[in-house]
């Protein structure tokens, strides 16, 4: 497919990238390109200027902050997450989920930053990062700010990253004994999700986030509250999920009606919570 005419720049530093993004109308960052190139083919969007982040080595690293936060650069690929010893030590669920995104070729190019900045409601990482209580660092001409997942995802294809800004890294607290789970139903193995759920269970808190049931990931707060002090038996987790479906307003499409998604949301949340509970320390 022939793309519409576009201008291209390949900055060498994050500062240059931000300057370029802020200086040209219709400028968009180009990360791994596994979404935007197809969007451009379909002419669903037509950026005037692509700012290729490919040379920004600062954004390709995985490490720990001084206070022990797992820091994942926005240009880290899924393949990097899967192979990372830091991820394996601090939060292995990230590697486990990344290994099921699309296929080998897409995992070699697709990036964590691209996945979240696209803010497609069917993507894997938004609900997972919300359950993990991740933070998102955004840099612009006027400086840097860090927002939680609840403020980062604003709508379908919309995030807190404004014009002239760039997501630079994602901070994920290490598990510290908490267990993490992820479950859902895909269209074909490792395909697009119809509904998914991510859960984190620690000694004092349950965090559950659902994907594909709204414009942004949805916290299952009532279920979280009824799990306080739970024994996490299958029976009690199922009881806690009761009523979750009717509280949601999911979309209907060819892959599933809204009612089917309400049903799947309860099933997925139960599976994710049971998996997380089984994996927590001392379980």
């Amino acid at each position: 497919m022939l793309l519409r005419e576009v201008e291209y720049a390949r900055p060498a530093t994050v500062e240059e990238a931000i300057t370029l993004l802020g200086s040209y109308d219709g400028a968009r960052p180009l990360a791994g390109g596994q979404t935007i190139v197809n969007v451009m083919k379909a002419r669903a969007a037509a950026p005037d200027v692509l700012v290729d982040l490919g040379d920004l080595e600062d954004l390709r690293s995985i490490g720990f902050s001084s206070d022990g936060l797992l820091e994942i650069g926005a240009m880290v690929t899924y393949a990097q997450l899967v192979a990372s010893s830091e991820v394996e030590v601090a939060r292995p669920i990230l590697a486990e989920v990344a290994a099921t995104i699309a296929d080998v070729q897409v995992r070699n190019r697709g990036t964590v930053g691209g996945n979240v900045c696209v803010s497609d409601p069917t993507n894997h990482l938004p609900p997972l990062l919300m359950a993990l209580d991740a933070t998102f660092t955004i840099r612009g001409a006027s400086g840097e700010r860090t927002v939680p997942a609840g403020e980062f995802f604003i709508g379908v294809y919309m995030t807190a990253v404004g014009e002239g800004e760039l997501l630079t890294k994602i901070g994920v607290p290490p598990s510290s004994g908490a267990g993490d789970g992820f479950a859902g139903l895909t269209i074909g193995k490792h395909g697009t999700y119809i509904v998914n759920a991510a859960a984190t269970i620690s000694t004092d808190e349950a965090r559950i986030a659902l994907g594909c049931v709204g414009a942004t990931p949805v916290r299952a707060t009532a279920m979280e509250e009824s799990l306080a002090g739970s024994d996490f038996s299958e029976e009690s987790v199922r009881a806690a999920a009761d009523g979750l479906g009717v509280s949601l307003d999911p979309p209907s499409d060819v892959h599933g009606s809204a009612d089917f998604r309400r049903h799947l949301a309860e099933v997925s949340a139960v599976r994710a919570v049971l998996q997380a509970a089984m994996r927590r320390k001392g379980a």
């Binding site: 005419e5 576009v6 201008e7 720049a9 197809n38 692509l50 393949a79 080998v104 070699n108 490792h190």
Partner: protein, 160 residues
């Protein structure tokens, strides 16, 4: 700082050969390979990133060349199916495809070979499950995959 431009002079290594060319920013890598360089072994199947027929190696890793701009490959090493049997002799993998009847129409074969070659590079003796996982991004509408998987397992010595 380089200002945005509609084309860019790129320099890359393709199948071991150094290439320098000015390409439009909107040119997909697969079109650059097929139309500008005349290497038509890399196929366009779906043009939506699903089928994997356009798979090439980017610095050794399999990627879909229809989901990448040619300008993004500036400075990279690209490998295409033409580079597999560089000296004219089919590789062990290609011979295994022949022996196991791993193709019918052949359209997906270049992509299958590139994904399988990258797997064997990283994991010289893959099991059947590892082969299936590695080939998930490559669609074949003829064979049902059985013979393709057998060929790759055999090329790796049987998954020992």
């Amino acid at each position: 700082m380089g200002a945005p431009a509609r084309s860019r002079a790129i320099s890359l290594e393709l199948n071991g050969e150094q290439i320098e060319m000015e390409v439009p920013a909107r040119r997909l890598l697969v079109h650059f390979i097929r139309d500008d360089l005349g290497l038509t072994g890399t196929h366009i199947g779906c043009d939506t990133g699903n089928c994997g027929a356009c798979t090439v190696h980017l610095d050794g890793a399999p990627v879909k060349s229809c989901m990448m701009l040619a300008v993004q490959a500036d400075g990279a090493k690209i490998g295409t199916v033409e580079g597999l049997a560089g000296d004219g002799e089919l590789t062990v993998l290609q011979q295994a495809f022949n022996a196991h009847h791993a193709l019918q129409c052949g359209y997906c074969t270049p992509g299958m070979l590139m994904s399988a070659a990258a797997l064997l590079e990283r994991n010289p003796h893959p099991t059947e499950d590892e082969v299936r996982y590695a080939l998930q991004g490559n669609i074949c509408r003829c064979t049902g995959y059985v013979n393709i998987v057998e060929a790759v397992v055999a090329a790796g010595g049987g998954g020992a």
